[in-house]
Amino acid sequence: MSHYSDKELLDFYQNNGTLGFKKIVTQFQERVYWQIRRLTKNHQDSEDVMQNVFIKVWSALPKFKGESALYTWIYRITFNETHTFLTKQNKMKSVDLDPPIFEDKLFVVGHEFTGDEMETILYNAIDTLPEKQQHVFRLKYLDDLKYKEIAQLLNMSEGGLKANYHHAVKKIEEIIKQH
């Protein structure tokens, strides 16, 4: 799949709204999907939320000022939309939910954790990071992207990313060790 810079995507959009929007969706849909699915834990809800996300992106694109990277902007919409959905749902669903990120029986500094426990600790720890470190950490650790891919998404240098990831890992590990 071709990767376009933010400027190229916005130029496409300026020249042809629908075609440009399609390229934006195609470029970011997988990142958005997995970001949602980590929280909804099933495909059907993820698809519904992702549709809402991109409908809002479509509505708001004419007002996008380019003050942040496109991905960062779409990420914020995705975050809000996913949390609104989860708050509204607040239910026990009968569908099969995805397993936690981690396997069970994790031993950290002498304590045993289940996968669910560690996932909760991890998400709470991520929330304490500055926004940029959160993005880098999620994309690197949770999505397993390469630094080069993250650099393209966030319009950052690979060196800057590595430093941000390193700081994020240190902070998160400190928090995990405190449990």
Binding site: T26, I55, N80, Y165
Partner: protein, 169 residues
């Protein structure tokens, strides 16, 4: 003062401390290795990532565009027309009332309107750009028909969601 000019140059300096041989040649490699070495986090075993259905990402962009186009076709245009028509009608109504009952009554109506709107509407809504509010109503499928006031449940919905929506801009 002239004599002081060369004080720094005249001070005897010691030799620069030595750095290990080829230290700078390998520094960046060592740093990168350290950044990438196994940490507590990388030692935690992850479950296999769940899968998305086949072709899901191939079709999604087309599906969302079809959905947006159908929304544009059936919802946005009528609502905008409705708002324009309602605004014009309101202006005419005020003009007619002004002519019929004189200035005093008009003042009373205007005062009442201000009080009513303060009572009935969330203060917050007054600061929202109208186009944003219309988009919000359209995107959330909130049903507004001519002559019907927005009911309590809609305001409750707005309270819950409008913050997030507003700050996206």
């Amino acid at each position: 003062m002239k004599e002081d000019k060369n004080i720094l140059n005249n001070l005897n300096r010691t030799e620069k401390p030595a750095v290990a041989n080829r230290f700078f040649d390998s520094f960046s490699d060592g740093l990168i290795k350290k950044l990438e070495e196994e940490t507590l986090l990388t030692s935690l075993s992850k479950n296999t990532k769940p899968e998305a259905p086949n072709d899901f990402f191939d079709k999604f962009a087309d599906e969302i565009i079809a959905k947006i186009q159908s929304k544009n076709k059936f919802k946005i245009i009528p609502l905008r027309i409705f708002i324009a028509v309602a605004s014009v009608a309101a202006v005419f109504a005020i003009l007619i009332l002004t002519n019929r009952d004189g200035q005093n009554q008009t003042n009373a109506i205007v005062n009442n309107s201000i009080v009513n709107s303060a009572d009935e509407n969330d203060d917050y809504l007054a600061y929202i750009d109208e186009s944003i509010l219309v988009d919000f109503i359209v995107e959330n499928d909130i049903d507004i028909e001519e002559g019907n006031a927005i009911n309590e449940s809609v305001y409750s919905e707005l309270d819950n969601e409008l913050d997030d929506y507003y700050y996206n801009y």
